[in-house]
């Protein structure tokens, strides 16, 4: 593939989390590449390992979680084996992240200006006045009115959408080469969602930033992403370009996921396949397909084969025994 353009390469990432009940394999064999100016979408239900994958990219996994295998390479730098100080310098300036819930991502006792200036001065050698000017310029770029007043305001005085835009302004100001957007629109209403997505798009076009877009909103993914990976139970079950994935989904889970969308024109269908909800056992899992309990097509072959992400056709990878 286009390895020479990729800025971030994740290879065979495996993360385990120790819980009081045992060790869970939260992320299994996840590999992907992120290129400059491209958007890589990561879709999956809750608990499929999306956020864990994101946090591992910044080496910020919680104490209970551990990367047991695999590598994360950012411009020939091994993130997982860097010193803490080196990783810290990468955070924010090289790999930035937009948090899921903007309302809680700001310290309630400090105003917006404090947050903005603190981040700028962590990475750039500028004085407070310059940082303030810069912050104002970037807030203006995000179409936020009265940036001067905004800097003096406290997080609870702003709406979720505004805070999210402030957060994007902060990340933008450091001009990172990679932006991790972990469900950036989940906590927002439709109007704000649109605005945020527009800004992300601008970020990609103007600054050539590579974006890792994590979402369970398929509409957002369809609109933004160039390449999409679908995660299930810690595995990437299907990875393809956005058009291929949405038009010709191969994995049963992807198909079920796409069928579950509500469309404006959908007629009352009788044949909508429902995916039964059952608790998947993530502990002591054998080599069976993670989707086996909920898959309509599953039979004995699914339980015994070691699953691999295989190329179904060019640039379209599927992890399913039936299709190989």
């Amino acid at each position: 593939m286009m390895g020479q353009h990729s800025i971030l390469t994740v290879n065979n990432l495996n993360i385990v989390v120790s819980t009081p009940h045992g060790v869970t394999q939260t992320v299994n064999d996840v590999s992907f590449e992120l290129e400059a100016g491209k958007v890589f979408g990561l879709v999956g239900e809750s608990g499929s390992g999306k956020t864990m994958t994101c946090m591992s990219l910044l080496n910020l996994l919680p104490d209970e979680a551990k990367v047991v295998e695999g590598s994360i390479k950012f411009r020939n730098k091994d993130i997982l084996n860097c010193s803490t100080e080196d990783v810290r310098k990468v955070r924010g300036s090289e790999i930035a992240m937009i948090m899921q819930n903007p309302m809680t991502a700001f310290n309630p006792v400090r105003n917006i200006g404090c947050h903005f200036i603190e981040t700028l001065r962590t990475h750039l050698h500028i004085n407070k006045h310059q940082a303030r000017e810069m912050a104002m310029a970037y807030l203006e770029k995000m179409d936020l009115p009265y940036p001067e007043n905004l800097l003096k305001q406290y997080p609870f005085q702003l709406s979720g959408g505004m805070l999210q835009r402030v957060m994007i302004a902060i990340t933008m100001s450091l001009n990172p080469s990679i932006l991790i957007a972990d469900e950036p629109t989940t906590a927002l209403d439709a109007t704000n969602q649109l605005q945020i997505l527009k800004q992300l798009d601008r970020l990609r076009n103007e600054y050539n930033t590579g974006i890792l877009l994590v979402s369970h909103d398929l509409g957002v993914i369809a609109q933004m992403a160039d390449e999409v990976a679908v995660m299930y139970g810690g595995y990437i079950v299907e990875k393809a370009s956005v058009l291929k994935l949405f038009n010709r989904p191969k994995h049963p889970y992807t198909r079920a996921l796409l069928q579950s969308r509500l469309g404006l024109t959908r007629r009352k269908e009788k044949s909508v396949k429902r995916v039964s909800v059952s608790h998947r056992n993530l502990i002591n899992r054998e080599t069976a397909c993670p989707f086996i309990e909920r898959c309509g097509d599953a039979d004995h072959t699914c339980a015994n084969n070691r699953l691999e992400l295989k190329e179904y056709e060019k640039d379209h990878l599927v992890r399913c025994v039936k299709l190989q």
């Binding site: 910044l58 910020l60 104490d63 810290r88 310098k89 990468v90 955070r91 924010g92 300036s93 930035a96 992240m97 948090m99 819930n101 809680t104 991502a105 700001f106 310290n107 309630p108 006792v109 400090r110 404090c114 603190e118 981040t119 962590t122 990475h123 406290y154 957060m167 902060i170 990340t171």
Partner: protein
Amino acid sequence: MLKNVKRKLLSHKLIMISSLIIFFMTLLALFAPFLAPNDPNLVDITHKLQGSSSKFPLGTDHLGRCIWSRLIYGIRTSLGTAFLVMGLTMIISIPIGIYAGFRGGWVDYLFMRICDILMAFPSLLLSLALIGILGPGLGNLILAMVLVQWIFYARVIRGMVLSVKKQNFILAAEVCGTPTLVIVIKHILPTIISQVVVLAFMDIGGIILAISGLSFLGLGIQPPGAEWGMMINDSKPFFRTHPSLMLYPGMMILIVVIAFNLFGEALRDVLDLRKE
């Protein structure tokens, strides 16, 4: 926000009354040499156990010392010692509590076990034992009280840090590449400091009581220094004939402790941002 706090402070009656008392007491203590009519430590047996007169506003004790002067100088010892104990306690417990809470792991575990051991003893008993080892005296009293107090505060601060540490904005700051020290100083400390200050103010009363208690037992200030607890102890033999000797210092302790407790509680109401 600051304006809001100021307005609330002014409209809060309790806070106004209690802070007035504290302010008045502080003034008395600061200008004690000018306000005291007599030398508090001057022994004059010829004037012993007198009633109030123009020379001695509240009379004299069994050694003929002016009670009013001794009360005023007593504010110096009580408040001064209490604030010193509290300040030293904060200086020790804030860094340790934050470190244990933020760092977690074995450091935290070790700290918690030490806490468990020390908290198994009643704190007054522990400070009594410490003073017993160190010997009586103001310096040793302060040392013993700080050594007993800091554990409690460090533990509370650790708990606060634990709850703040898990908040999203700490993660957000980390994601932005903020150095750990900056996170601690600029995010964690401002978030917990108001609660810590309130806690400290509510405890000042307790510390004053403890100092008086230990002095009453003869373990704190040594004669001829003026201290309320010691004054009560001195007046024990004359309790039946001259109850006022015991009453005055007792009243002072009561007023100051109540003022500080009310102030602390009112401060908590005002600074509690979560209620808004």
